[in-house]
Each structure stands twice: as structure tokens, then as C-alpha cells.
Assembly symmetry: C2
Homo-oligomer: 134 residues x 2
DNA sequence: TGTATTCCTTACTCTGTAAGTCAACAATCC
DNA sequence: GGATTGTTGACTTACAGAGTAAGGAATACA
């Protein structure tokens, strides 16, 4: 029932990238130094963000990482789902076929509502907003 | 990021107890049979509910379990917290002293808000309501 | 008093996921 | 072609979730 550290680091990193001058490429080791993550772990964390089209990377001399999109268009839910997969408060919310019990399903609607509210809040704040607050 | 099975079973069980005639004592094995939980696991799940004053138990012949309070006064958050401890979406929401990083704390307010909404929804529906819907 | 009944306590196992590491590989620049 | 920088996949370690098992303690009733 807790957000993973990978997601936390992903958020820190994306906020950091959003604060750089637009188009600037940042070295992995600079992210590591400022965000206090090890290079090996940051590598692992960045890959899902790259695959989701949130961050882009460049190899070789002068290479590094930068935002692949407008920070106004990314929110915390995007980052969380890139790292952890679809948000689900309960097993039954992934595949409604799982939820066979009537007694259980009385609670089902409540889980759905709670998750919906969570999604609403996480979508509401863009990375640009968070970077500006920082 | 998922509610545990213990919490699910706890909810099923409490809804089941709430549907019994008031004051009726239910055998563990009857709960097990109707709710599809093993006795050993149900034992483990019931203890926190008893300690939280939600369910009460009686030993010996004619013993069993029954609700210890008005089903109108219990909600899903009570059950979840009895089983899993205080709800927290993120590590920093337990002890604000953990949250030292500014970059992280930009997200902190969002976690707080998301968790607040979740709490609000889980508190809104009493066990009596859920039992009636069932 | 003794015994059957019923829940209580504690320790244990098994499995999966989070968190993080490592080493070989691939692209790019000069 | 070599230095630099990111990529990939396999690996380790630790911990929490999920469930089991066995002996102990309370209660009712004969």
C-alpha cells in the first residue's frame, strides 16, 4: 500500500530535468549526484520513462538525458504508471472477472470510487507545476 | 500498492457478521465455510479486529464471534487500518521528518491530497450500508 | 472434576516483489 | 579506433504477504 522508491526517484528525476533549460542534455552522473541515486539503479528507473516517451536519451560523448515532452503535459499518474504499471488499489480492479463474490463486491464500488479520486488528484498536478513550486 | 487479502477477508467477514441477527454468535467454521477462508488464516485475520474492538469472541462450547459494535459506526478505513496499520500512500506520509528533499516535497503535497481523498471515500461507507447492499 | 469444545498465541514455511548491483554490450563522437 | 555514455539482462538480498501448524487457555456441561 505504498508507492515504490523507483517511482519516487523517477519523480525527482523528471522534476530535475524539467528545471533544466529546455533542450539541455544532462549526464546520468549529474542526476545521480543531485538526486542521490546510484547510477545502476537510476539506469533501471529511467528505462520505463524512456519507453513511455517521457524522457529521451542519447549515447556517446555529450550524451545524456532530457525530457521528451512538455512538462505541462506530464503528471504524477503518468510517472507512477510508467514505473509500476496500471494503478490498482485492489486485485479486482484490474480485471473485473476476478470479483465473483457478492460480499466482496459490496466493497468493490468503494474501491473503485477511492481509486478514482486518487487518479483525479494525481492527474491534476503537472510536472511543470511541481517544478515551479520547487 | 494493493490492499492485502487479509483486509479483503476481514471486510467479507465483518459484513457477514453484520448480516446476522443482532447478538448472534457465529462459529469460526461457519465463517470459513461461507467466506471461503481457511480456519488458520481466519484466526490470524480476526485477532486485529478483536484488538481494535470491532469484533468480539467467546471461547468454549457455544462460543464464536460477533460484532462488538454498531455496524453503522464502522467503515472500510477502520477495517483496513486494523489489519494493515495506518494508511500511507508513501513512506514520507507516516513521519514527516523523513521528507527532507525539496524536490520530493513538491510531490509531498500531492500524496497528502490523494491520501486524504482516499480516506474520505473509505470513511464514507459504513459496514451497515455495505451489508444492506449485499 | 474432567472432558469436549472453541478460540488464542507463537513460530514457522513458502513465494513473490522491491531494491539494488554487475558485467558485457551498443551507439556515438572525435 | 578508442574514449565516452547509455542499454540490456541476469543476478542478489531483504522483506512482506499469504498461509500453516501445534500446543495452550478459557468455557460449558455432565
Amino acid at each position: 500500500m505504498v508507492i515504490t522508491r523507483a517511482t519516487e526517484y523517477a519523480i525527482r528525476t523528471v522534476i530535475y530535468l524539467a528545471k533544466q533549460p529546455k533542450g539541455d542534455i544532462v549526464l546520468k552522473k549529474d542526476i545521480c549526484r543531485t538526486q542521490e541515486v546510484t547510477p545502476a539503479f537510476l539506469t533501471k528507473i529511467l528505462q520505463p520513462l524512456i519507453k513511455a516517451g517521457i524522457v529521451s536519451s542519447q549515447r556517446g560523448v555529450g550524451g545524456g538525458f532530457l525530457l521528451a515532452c512538455d512538462p505541462q503535459s506530464i503528471n504524477l499518474l503518468d510517472l507512477l504508471e510508467a514505473e509500476e504499471g496500471p494503478l490498482k488499489l485492489n486485485h479486482c480492479l484490474i480485471d473485473s472477472g476476478d470479483c465473483l463474490r457478492k460480499a466482496y463486491c459490496a466493497a468493490h464500488l468503494v474501491w473503485t470510487e477511492a481509486q478514482g479520486e486518487m487518479v483525479r488528484v494525481l492527474k491534476k498536478h503537472s510536472i511543470a507545476d511541481l517544478a515551479a513550486q520547487d
